[in-house]
């Protein structure tokens, strides 16, 4: 665990008597390694360690009676500040409906999250309509239809053979017509390097007039998080992040990487297979988890 590792580093630093920038730098190598083991992306880890080092070689640590503990505290603080402090809520737009478009890699948990979000908003007295523009995955639309029923949300199904763009536009028309507060539009999983599919995503955004595009990412993602996050953010624009399957024991370094790469807030954590498995993001908890 990074915390144990940091405690070890702390003991060693304090036990070394004379504290120098050199021995601090060496212990920071351990910190970098521990971050990599937690799936923090290489450049993000290097960046975080550089911030810690800048503070650690200052008087704050060199003069401290427990320099080791000081360094540990600095790591924790920098981690939390990078993850973002203020709890961010899903921005409702003044227009009705607020349109939320879900995007991400294959299997990241988008469809399940659509159901969870519908239930979450429903519990806050919002009327939610779900629709799926996923014409690629077998039975994807059936999957969402079933979840809509379980979430007690509205569901609209386009005529058989409708193209994604038509589905997006049709869903918006339907949600407006029936006065829903939110339209949550599910999309097919796609690779960020699949040009036609990224173009499709841009089309979905335009046709649905999406107010929020949420990037849904698997919490056990490794080094890919930055590359994927940057590509989606750069290509179609991302307004918020969702990390799923955080009910597992993956350390979740992807959270830090994604936040650094996109600068966008993490809104939700998926914490279970059922529709009640959804939590608002809590930076302190995730920092603690990455730290181990």
């Amino acid at each position: 665990a990074l915390t144990d590792r940091l405690q070890g580093i702390a003991k060693r630093l304090t036990g070394q008597g004379k504290l120098t920038p050199e021995n601090i730098r060496e212990s920071l190598r351990d910190v970098r390694r521990a971050l990599l083991e937690a799936d923090v992306e290489v450049a993000v880890a290097r960046d975080l360690v550089a911030r810690v080092e800048a503070r650690a070689v200052g008087d704050e640590v060199l003069r401290s009676l427990t320099p080791g503990q000081q360094v540990v505290g600095i790591v924790r603080e920098e981690l939390e500040s990078l993850l973002g402090h203020a709890p961010v809520t899903l921005a409702g737009s003044p227009h009705v409906p607020t349109v939320v478009l879900l995007a991400g890699l294959q299997g990241s948990g988008k469809t399940t999250f659509a159901g969870k979000l519908a239930r979450w908003l429903g519990g806050r007295d919002k009327r939610v309509m779900l629709a799926s523009a996923d014409v690629h995955r077998p039975a994807a639309i059936d999957q969402l239809a079933r979840l809509a029923g379980m979430a007690e949300a509205g569901f609209w199904r386009a005529p058989e053979g409708a193209a994604p763009e038509a589905i997006a536009g049709g869903a918006l028309d339907e949600a407006r017509r029936r006065g829903f507060d939110f339209l949550v539009l599910d999309s097919a999983g796609r690779l960020q390097i699949d040009e036609p599919m990224m173009a499709e995503l841009e089309t979905l955004r335009r046709a649905s007039r999406a107010h929020q595009v949420l990037l849904v990412m698997d919490g056990m993602t490794g080094q890919e998080a930055v590359r994927v996050g940057r590509a989606f953010a750069g290509r179609v624009g991302v307004d918020g992040l969702v990390l799923t399957k955080m009910d597992g024991d993956a350390r979740g370094g992807a959270a830090l990487s994604l936040r650094q790469a996109t600068g966008k807030p993490i809104l939700f954590l998926g914490v279970g297979e059922k529709l009640d498995g959804l939590e608002a993001f809590d930076a302190a908890r995730i920092a603690g988890r990455i730290l181990g």
Partner: protein, 276 residues
Amino acid sequence: ALGRRGAIDEATRAALEEALLAADAGPAAAERLMDEAERRMRADPALDLRHALERGVAQLMGATRARFTPGAERPWVALLVGVNGVGKTTLAGKLAAGFARDGRSTLLVAADTFRAAATEQLEVWASRAGVELVRARDGADPAAVVHDGLSAALARGHEVVLVDTAGRLHTKRNLMAELEKVGRVCARLVPGSPHHVLLVLDATLGQNGLQQAREFQRATPITSLAITKLDGTARGGAVLAIADQLKLPVSVVGLGEGLDDWQPFDPEAFARGLFE
């Protein structure tokens, strides 16, 4: 930097370490592979760093060879297991199509009775692959479906049975117990089965992979691994630690969302892919 021969300078070593880390090898495996590559280069001055590393990876991943190929047992029963969303159902369809094309009478069993539209999804794949499907009767649990599936296979003389199971996080004790039960049901109906347990891993998987493999191994002995979504930018380096520490081989890789998008695992191609 990756093509440099002779002595390795710090910049070269760093660039190389970065490539391994970016591929999800993790710091421990990256360090081990680097040290080993340096030894290899000292023994053979004609070798450059990149090739020394590729050789090391190919050797590690090729140490235990595994094919996802039916043995002599009839029916030959395989289970696809793994955490949520990695590509089990899709892979089951692809593999079934391959066996059917080879002229083997193949049966798919839809043992995911939990997730919304899981059976419908596998139904589409079964029809694309041209194979029969056994699905749950109303309210049945996975063990019951597997029981029905194997009974049908025995009765109809199927050569191959591919059981698609529900995604499950290895941290869920009850779901891992369910998997153990499925294994026992197989053995009762077809002694010696399941003959192959395929643990499916997503190429984007980070350092949690080793823990996943360890836990699944405790529920049902894993025969081989599959790495899916290698058509993306992810390299699947998480399998390096699993190969090193658990000696589990990779048999199959997924390369897309179509019926034919899979290949037998090739250690050399995998090794090259890490540094491309």
